[in-house]
C-alpha cells in the first residue's frame, strides 16, 4: 500500500500545486503570536518561514534610557517562564563589572530558585506540548503541579510569574521561614508524580509514534544554528552553561549534564523529563546547606558601571541566555543586547521540518519549547 501511495505521489497523477498557509499568529500550537508561513504540497511541508515581531517591545532600546536596577525587571517580560534566570544574568553581569563578591547565601538562594523555575517551566512545557499532540489530560496535571512551585515563589518574593527577585548584590528579600520545608515537601511529592508523567505520555504508543524519528536535528546543524538548551543537547551538542561556565552555586554541586544522541522529537522530550529529575537532585543538595549570612550586599544608590563591555551567559530553561552590556561610565547602559535562546532555536525549525507532514511540524514546535516574547524581545 505504502509503495502505491509513494508511486502516486511521485508521479504527476495526484500531484497538487504548492500552496502557502499561514500558521498563526493566533494558532494555539505556536504558543504566542508567532506566524509561520508554511509552503505545502498536500500535507507535506516544503518550507517554513517564521514571521516574528508581533510583540517586539523594544526592550533593548528602552534599557538605554533606564538605570541598571530598572532594566532587570524588563528581562522578566522576555522569557517569562525563565524570569529568574534572566534577572540573574543581568545581576551577574553587573556584579562582574563592579567586581563585587555576593555572599554565599545569595548564591545558594539564586541557584535553588533557578532550578525551581526550570522545573516550573518544564512542567508547563510538558503539559502544553502534550496538549499540542492531542493529549489534553496532561495539561491539567502539569498546571496542578506547577501551582505548588508558584506558591513557593509567591510566599518568598510576592510574585508568581515575573519574579524580579534578584537585585545587583543579592536578592530582594530573605527567603520565607517556610521556604525550606515547602521545597522539601514539594520534592518529595514531585518525585512520586514524575513516574505518572511518564506513564501518561512517554510510554504511550500513540505519543511515541508521533515523536520517534520525527524532526531529526543533527549535532552539526545544532551547532551551526546555535541551538542550545535541552533542544541542542538532545542532538548531542554539549552546551550546558551550568557545566561549562559555572556561576552562582553550580560549582559546588554534583550534577550530570544530560546529553542525548538521536536529536528527534522523542529525544528532546525525554531529555527534558531527565532534566526535571536532575533539577530535583540539584535542589536536594542545596536546600539543607543554605549558609547563614546576609541576603544582599549594601550597594550604592546609583549604580554606575565602569567603562567597557561585559558579557554574561546563563542557562535558562530554553538554552543559553547572554547579556552583553556596553557601558560608557554613566548610570544608564550605552547599549544592551540580549542573546535569547529562543531566537536561535526558532530558525532551525525550517531546516528540520522539510519533507515532514504538517502534523509533525506541530510536534517539532512543541518539543522546541518556544516562548515568543523571548524571541521578539
Amino acid at each position: 500500500m505504502a509503495e502505491i501511495i509513494e508511486k502516486l505521489i511521485t508521479t504527476d497523477e495526484i500531484k497538487t500545486d504548492e500552496y502557502l498557509v499561514n500558521m498563526g499568529p493566533q494558532h494555539p500550537s505556536t504558543h504566542g503570536v508567532l506566524r509561520l508561513l508554511v509552503k505545502l504540497e498536500g500535507e507535506i511541508v516544503h518550507n517554513v518561514e517564521p514571521h516574528i515581531g508581533y510583540i517586539h517591545s523594544g526592550i533593548e532600546k528602552m534599557s538605554e534610557a533606564l538605570s541598571y536596577p530598572q532594566i532587570i525587571h524588563l528581562t522578566d517580560r522576555m522569557d517569562y517562564l525563565s524570569a529568574h534566570m534572566n534577572n540573574e544574568a543581568v545581576c551577574l553581569c553587573i556584579e562582574d563589572a563592579l567586581q563585587v563578591q555576593v555572599p554565599e547565601r545569595v548564591k545558594y538562594i539564586r541557584t535553588i530558585i533557578d532550578e525551581l523555575q526550570r522545573l516550573a517551566s518544564h512542567q508547563l512545557w510538558w503539559c502544553a506540548s502534550g496538549m499540542d499532540l492531542g493529549a489534553l489530560t496532561a495539561f491539567f496535571y502539569g498546571l496542578r503541579d506547577r501551582e505548588d512551585i508558584l506558591d513557593i515563589f509567591e510566599e518568598t518574593c510576592g510574585a508568581r510569574l515575573t519574579l524580579n527577585y534578584s537585585v545587583p548584590g543579592g536578592v530582594m528579600f530573605d527567603i520565607h521561614p517556610n521556604f525550606q520545608a515547602k521545597v522539601k515537601a514539594f520534592i518529595k511529592k514531585f518525585r512520586k508524580i514524575l513516574p505518572e508523567y511518564d506513564k501518561l505520555l512517554t510510554g504511550n504508543i500513540i505519543f511515541q509514534n508521533r515523536t520517534k524519528g520525527v524532526g531529526i536535528l543533527s549535532k552539526e546543524d545544532a551547532i551551526a544554528y546555535g541551538v542550545t538548551g535541552p533542544t541542542g543537547r538532545a542532538s548531542g551538542f554539549s552546551c550546558d552553561v551550568r557545566k561549562h561556565h559555572p556561576y552562582s552555586a553550580y560549582p559546588y554541586i554534583k550534577f550530570d549534564e544530560k546529553v542525548g544522541t538521536d536529536g528527534d522529537c522523542f529525544m528532546r522530550w525525554k531529555l527534558r523529563m531527565d532534566e526535571m529529575r536532575e533539577s530535583l537532585n540539584i535542589i536536594e543538595q542545596l536546600i539543607d546547606n543554605i549558609p547563614e549570612g546576609d541576603y544582599a550586599l549594601k550597594m550604592k544608590g546609583v549604580i554606575k558601571l565602569p567603562e567597557g563591555e561585559f558579557y554574561q551567559r546563563v542557562e535558562t530553561a530554553r538554552g543559553e541566555f547572554g547579556v552583553y552590556i556596553v557601558s560608557d561610565g554613566k548610570k544608564n547602559p550605552y547599549r544592551v543586547k540580549y542573546r535569547s535562546p529562543g531566537f536561535s532555536n526558532l530558525f532551525a525549525i525550517n531546516h528540520i521540518a522539510k519533507k515532514w507532514k504538517i502534523a509533525d511540524l506541530v510536534a517539532i514546535m512543541a518539543t522546541f519549547d518556544l516562548v515568543i516574547p523571548d524571541i521578539d524581545r
Binding site: G53, E60, H244, Y311
Partner: protein, 151 residues
C-alpha cells in the same frame, strides 16, 4: 587553548589585526576588508575550530557602527570576541558571515532591521521585527515623537 595561547596564535596568524585581552575574553578588531576571510579561517583552522556563533550584536558609536561577534569553539572550549567597524554611519556595509555560521542569517537580519547595517552577499536581507515605516530604532539619533519620551 588558554586565553594567552589564543592571543599569541591570533597575533602570529594575523599581524594586521589588533588583539588584546579584554576584561573577560580575548578581543580582536579586524578591518572590514578582511572580515570574511578572517572569519572563515577561524572556523577552518583546526587549532581554533570556532564553530559556534553565540551572539552577534551591533553597537552604534558616534563615528561608526560596530558589529560584535561572540564566538566559541565547542570542541576546544575557548571563546573569542571579534569586532568590526563600518566605514562610517551613513554607508554602513559589511560582509555577511551567514555562509560560515547559518545562525548569522537571522542575527544579521535583526541588525539590519534595528541598526541599518547592510550585509553584502546576504541571501535574504529583509526586516525582521518592524515594518518599512520605521527607521532604525537602535541608532542613537533615532527620533520617534509618538513612542519615545524624552526626559
Amino acid at each position: 587553548m588558554t586565553n594567552e595561547q589564543l592571543i599569541e596564535h591570533l597575533s602570529a596568524a594575523f599581524p594586521d589585526a589588533v588583539v588584546k585581552q579584554g576584561k573577560q575574553y580575548p578581543e580582536i578588531t579586524v578591518s572590514k576588508e578582511i572580515l570574511h576571510a578572517f572569519m572563515k579561517n577561524l572556523k577552518s583552522d583546526t587549532k581554533l575550530a570556532f564553530d559556534y556563533l553565540v551572539c552577534e550584536s551591533g553597537v552604534d558609536y558616534p563615528a561608526f557602527i560596530q558589529v560584535v561577534y561572540h564566538i566559541e569553539s565547542t570542541s576546544l572550549q575557548h571563546f573569542l570576541i571579534v569586532k568590526c567597524n563600518t566605514e562610517n554611519r551613513e554607508t554602513a556595509v559589511l560582509d555577511t558571515v551567514m555562509d560560515i555560521w547559518p545562525t548569522a542569517e537571522f542575527h544579521e537580519r535583526e541588525i539590519y532591521d534595528l541598526l541599518g547595517i547592510t550585509f553584502n552577499h546576504h541571501t535574504d536581507l529583509r526586516r525582521l521585527f518592524l515594518d518599512d515605516t520605521w527607521g532604525h530604532p537602535l541608532r542613537k539619533d533615532f527620533k520617534d515623537d509618538i513612542h519615545v519620551v524624552e526626559r
